[in-house]
Subunit: 113 residues, 2 copies
Amino acid sequence: MKLDKSLLSGSTGLLVLKLLEDGDKYGYQMTEELRRRSDKTFELKSGTLYPLLHTLEQKGYITAWEEASDSSRPRRYYHLTDTGRKHLAEKEQEWRTYADAMVKVLKGGEGYA
Amino acid sequence: MKLDKSLLSGSTGLLVLKLLEDGDKYGYQMTEELRRRSDKTFELKSGTLYPLLHTLEQKGYITAWEEASDSSRPRRYYHLTDTGRKHLAEKEQEWRTYADAMVKVLKGGEGYA
DNA sequence: TTGACTTATGTCGATATTCGATATATCATG
DNA sequence: CATGATATATCGAATATCGACATAAGTCAA
């Protein structure tokens, strides 16, 4: 089944921050883990992920550090800051509020009309 | 609490079609009913609603008819077509899939790492 | 009666989000 | 040695939403 990607847009930041709650991770790893944890529902594209990570870093929610490596291209690990952790908690609450409201509307309007 | 409007963006079309499932409605009425049924969580702006209605009409999901009136500005009522009804069912299913995946990710990754 | 508020539909430009395409580079596997 | 996986990144296009603005009729109180 082809899913409309825009159905939950705006929540990608929340998902990424949530992944970092468990510990530092690098971009590609996040893509993989998100696919796994969501049973292939969320497939983050590189064109979405990397600009998003830069934005989250600019906002102070995450910080980056580079894995030391001689030969190959270094991995950029990201770390969830205290500010990011607070922001994540707020966003999680917001999502629950929205999801609850959605359920209410989808339940039907028989009792209202 | 100020809610981030973009958190569930993309689902507005689904909400509007859902409202029309109960019967024909006009734009302003949808705004009111959506606010009521969602306990003030969803507040549809006119700048969002009217262009959206025109788009849904173009796609054949809804049809419009004007309330007969001599003096005042006529209300534009919208009707859910069969195509729209099918589309609504698909979108509802998609939303449930996404919401389920969201819950899985937000549950935490302890069991995965 | 005048001013404010609600009802009602609509456009426009700005902003944000996401995707697809493209680019680059390393490593493992056949 | 070519293909695919790993890994990060940019760019332009498409889309969604909002805030501001415009218009116009009805209601209600000072």
